[in-house]
Subunit: 199 residues, 2 copies
């Protein structure tokens, strides 16, 4: 059985939970609270030297970090990953987009507003985070105006990856009203069989 | 034949060039200078709505952005990607590490020092970038003290991805002297058959 080291309110950890639930794979969840320094403990760093959740413990005892690498690993050979080479590359294209052009703005804005005190100096970062996050939403909107999902014409781990922090973007101060195709896609993802909410 | 839209001095674009050369795949290179706004032109945004190089034009005319998704696409089915599922996940683990925990510090520090004027206000970012970049080098050092390469025990696209900005980290103000295993790995990568330099 898999063990997920994760924090329930983290979108990156939610990705792994959602994929495991939809694939019907049993797992054990070990709560690790990064806001209390638990990802920097000696024990945890032995599991993932980069000190981040989620980290998946495999059935052979090894550890696999990086939410999107975990998604790919779980989905390979299942309907959650396109069966053709270009489809897999498209799924990865959007998962790298998520980690480079989306999460560092939308998830970080959410973190500042949800976890840091109202007088935190990091609030000064918000205008830039909101501007860049909106750019990411606009790139998604352009794609979703033409396609129902991100890769291969059907629901895949690319959708799970981008859903994780887009569906709670309001927590980071983002207004999804101008992004009609993104909102319709969020609803298509939410009604997939086996869907579970964040938390 | 592939067409690479890229900027010769960019590490992200160099990844694609190095993989194509080592795989012996013919390609055409179209220079796109992001420092002159050429990735924000109407023509270029029609190729990649996210406005970034590299973007690969496929043989069917379609476009694939995201350097690491391109690497994976080119390497699938070749010796540059592990043949087993866990090995592929390990390659992706390090490629996601590269885009989230390495490139945003080491490549951005290099960009500020190499492309912006000496009195740029962005120099204020350098102390944080250097601290985070050193953390990434330290995570690499721990892995490379035990393993010769990043995934599957042999040279792969994970090494190409991390080599791109590590081998020129000095441009960003990083001293590699404390990272002996990283330096030995850089040399192992540099002597791989078909290796070509950045630029």
């Amino acid at each position: 059985m898999f063990t997920v080291y994760g924090m329930a309110d983290s979108g990156n950890c939610y990705k792994v939970k959602l994929a495991l639930e939809q694939l019907g794979r049993p797992y054990r969840w070990v709560q690790v609270d990064s806001t209390k320094g638990e990802t920097r403990s000696r024990d945890f760093l032995a599991r993932n030297a980069n000190g981040k959740v989620p980290t998946l413990q495999l059935e052979d005892g090894g550890y696999l970090p990086e939410s999107n690498a975990i998604l790919y690993y779980l989905a390979e050979g299942t309907p959650l990953l396109p069966a053709d080479k270009l489809g897999r590359a498209r799924a990865l294209q959007w998962m790298f987009f998520e980690q480079y052009s989306h999460e560092p703005y939308i998830a970080v804005a959410r973190f500042i507003l949800r976890y840091l005190p109202a007088d935190s100096a990091r609030r000064a970062e918000l205008p830039r985070l909101v501007e860049r996050g909106r750019q990411a939403l606009s790139v998604m909107e352009q794609h979703l105006a033409k396609e129902p999902f991100f890769a291969g014409g059907r629901y895949s781990v690319a959708d799970i990856s981008l859903y994780a922090y887009t569906h709670c973007a309001r927590d980071g101060g983002f207004d999804l009203q101008p992004f009609a195709s993104v909102r319709a896609w969020l609803e298509r993802v939410r009604v997939q069989p086996g869907h579970v909410p964040l938390g």
